[in-house]
């Protein structure tokens, strides 16, 4: 459900980015919130900044809105340095985590607020507000005050208010954080719909990896003020560049070992008396260097007999079974004490489960299923 496949301006070296961060650093006293960030965001992108709280993602967004100034470095919007432009003159609009709707104004007046500041003629304001109310499906509530509508409706008013000014860039700070799970999922699709309809560039800040994966064309994973990886959701999931990213996005097993490099293949000595694990890799590492294998639980097969011809096979016993309805996750303890998670889809009814607690089982995966990582 990401943007159409042909939309990938970041692979086109001639494409001009809408936003360009060059060597941007932001310090609050001794604390470095943003550490030397370089980043390009392109027009019509739905770009997600993802990371745990305190990683600097909100600071990065507030610098785009103009509420924070970079300590060092350059931020360009459409090739123009935006540092001297105050927030009220920027072609960006922000949707706040608290929505920040004006409690003394009706929904209509909230949406019209930014348009009045532009000194737009009255009839055009009315037309634009109607258009926005229609876009977010709130026409019947136009004369209500924010405290008279539900949380999900408030979220949509906040969105309509930002979009009314037709900004070049829309910033969304944890836009769905206050909604319950079901509403959040619906709203994610609404957001994508609206983004596509209006063609606005969206930058969204979130700590919810599923949300980022669902809505974004590209995701930037942040940690301690740095960008750890910037890539499409699929690339982030399938080829994370570090154990941090692999661990942050989705569920993963990480096995540490010593490298035994081969030709296009990496052998990993992970436990004494066990055959090496092997993974496809073109990393050049010294023999004996620390190396990690990251393997997603759904890519680990579980069987009673030792599988024939599998690149990686380890024996263990079932420690725990987490039944989630559509899938089951088996926690399998290896002889060294390490626990590996393996997932199977429950295509049959529960009565026919193959394994139970304390069963001896084999786990196996192919050489290309796992990712070999240096750090």
């Amino acid at each position: 459900m990401t943007a159409p496949a042909e939309f990938s301006p970041w692979t086109d070296p001639s494409a001009k980015p809408l936003i360009r961060f060059t060597g941007v650093t932001k310090r609050f006293g001794d604390f470095t919130a943003i550490d030397n960030v370089d980043l390009d965001i392109f027009e019509k992108e739905f770009f997600a900044l993802l990371g745990p709280s305190g990683c600097g993602k909100t600071t990065l967004m507030r610098m785009l809105a103009g509420f924070e100034m970079p300590t060092e470095g350059l931020i360009e919007l459409d090739g123009q340095d935006i540092a001297p432009v105050p927030p009220n003159k920027r072609a960006t609009n922000m949707m706040f985590q608290s929505y920040a709707l004006f409690p003394h104004l009706s929904l209509r007046d909230n949406i019209a607020f930014g348009l009045h500041r532009e000194k737009m003629p009255k009839d055009r304001i009315a037309a634009r507000v109607d258009e926005m109310l229609k876009l977010v499906q709130l026409e019947p509530f136009a004369s209500r005050k924010p405290h008279q509508i539900s949380g999900g409706q408030r979220q949509r008013v906040a969105l309509a208010r930002c979009l009314a000014k037709a900004p070049k860039l829309l910033l969304l700070d944890e836009p769905l954080g206050a909604l319950d799970r079901k509403l959040r999922e619906e709203t994610q699709f609404e957001l994508m719909d609206i983004q596509e309809k209006t063609g606005t560039t969206f930058v969204i800040v979130t700590h919810d990896q599923e949300e980022a994966m669902t809505v974004a064309s590209r995701v930037a994973v942040m940690d301690h003020g740095r960008l750890v990886q910037v890539a499409t959701p699929a690339a982030i999931y399938e080829t994370p560049n570090s154990t941090y990213v692999a661990d942050f996005i989705g569920d993963v097993n990480i096995i540490e070992g010593k490298a035994e490099p081969g030709d296009g293949i990496m052998g990993i000595a992970w436990a004494e008396g066990q055959p090496n694990l092997t993974g496809a890799s073109d990393l050049t590492l010294a023999s004996g260097a620390t190396v990690f294998m990251a393997i997603r639980p759904e890519k680990v097969r579980i069987s009673a007999e030792k599988p024939e011809g599998a690149a990686n096979a380890v024996a263990g016993k079932v420690l725990d079974i987490a039944y989630l309805g559509n899938i089951s996750t088996y926690h399998v303890e290896l002889p060294g004490g390490q626990v590996i998670k393996a997932q199977t889809a429950n295509t049959d009814r529960i009565a026919r489960r193959d394994f139970t607690w304390e069963d001896a089982v084999w786990l196996s995966w192919s050489a290309t299923a796992g990712v070999v990582l240096e750090r």
Binding site: K89, F96, F102, H147, R161
Partner: protein, 297 residues
């Protein structure tokens, strides 16, 4: 039963401490002056029974209220009190709002201290504080000494015993009543609302007028009433700081009671004052209620 008891307590309180005294004042205002103790007539004599009560009622009349309309001192005093109350409420708002705003914007660690400083004057007697203003404002007072010493003025200013001194005294005394409700509304305000206003194209100043002021409206209204209502009947400040030309109904009332010993006329003045105040008090209550409803969500 228990619920009725709980409700009865505040009603009894109101009855005993407000309604009964008011009825007594109302009765006196309908009586006539007499050189006696108490200095009015009629008094109710229960020993004469029903006939006595009828005679008592027959002796009551509206004479004192008619008298108030014949002497222009009274309505001039009412008008002048209203004017002084309106002007000083406005001045208090002008001084109090920036202080409340500054407090709400101050670092969170400092706010309790600042709040304490606003409340601190209540720890000393009100009378002493007004007297100390006499020391500041008088011809040889600290203010004139300072200004002459600095060379700002060559002749000492006459401030004490003028309306200016009364305004200064009222603003000083009632400032906390203005600051506290405004501070309460400003402090609750979500800071991201101002950022949102700026983000949508407001300058700092227009964000203040379009967001901060409307959102502190209930605090402003509450503060204004808390200053306006007691100021109309204010007696101590005009009599200590004001001059002979300062005409306020509180002073007139005092003189009727204690200098003229005309209790019935003084009571009539008090009844009319109460009627004048009922309107702003009702408006104040409605503001409070509307605010509660808005917050109730």
């Amino acid at each position: 039963m228990r619920r009725a008891l709980v409700i009865a307590v505040p009603y009894f309180w109101l009855l005993a401490l407000f309604l009964v005294p008011f009825l007594i004042v109302l009765k006196i205002s309908l009586s006539d002056t007499e050189l006696a103790i108490p200095p009015y007539t009629p008094t109710l004599d229960l020993s004469e029974g029903w006939a006595g009560f009828r005679a008592f009622l027959a002796a009551l009349d509206l004479e004192n209220f008619t008298f108030l309309t014949t002497d222009d001192l009274y309505w001039k005093a009412y008008l002048s009190s209203l004017q002084i109350a309106v002007v000083s409420t406005f001045l208090t708002l002008l001084v109090g709002y920036p202080i409340a705003y500054g407090m709400a914007r101050a670092d969170e660690a400092w706010r309790p201290t600042l709040l304490m400083l606003v409340i601190l004057p209540f720890w000393t007697s009100f009378l002493i504080r007004v007297y100390s203003w006499m020391g500041i404002l008088s011809q040889e007072g600290y203010l004139n000494q300072l200004l002459v010493g600095l060379g700002v003025i060559s002749e000492p200013l006459t401030i004490l015993n003028t309306n200016t001194a009364v305004y200064i005294g009222i603003v000083y005394t009632y400032l906390p009543f203005m600051i506290l409700p405004i501070y309460a509304t400003l402090e609750r305000m979500d800071a991201s609302l101002l950022e949102a206003a700026e983000d949508l194209g407001c300058s700092r100043l227009s964000a203040f007028w379009l967001v901060t002021v409307p959102l502190s409206k209930s605090g402003i209204i509450a503060g204004c009433f808390l200053v306006f209502i007691p100021t109309i009947g204010e007696f101590v400040i005009p009599s200590l700081l004001g001059g002979s030309q300062t005409l306020m109904i509180g002073k007139v009332l005092w003189e009727e009671f204690f200098s003229n010993r005309d209790w019935p006329v003084a009571s009539a003045v008090a009844v009319i004052l109460l009627l004048i105040l009922v309107i702003p008090i009702i408006l104040f209550q409605r503001n409070e209620q509307r605010q509660r409803e808005a917050e109730g969500k």
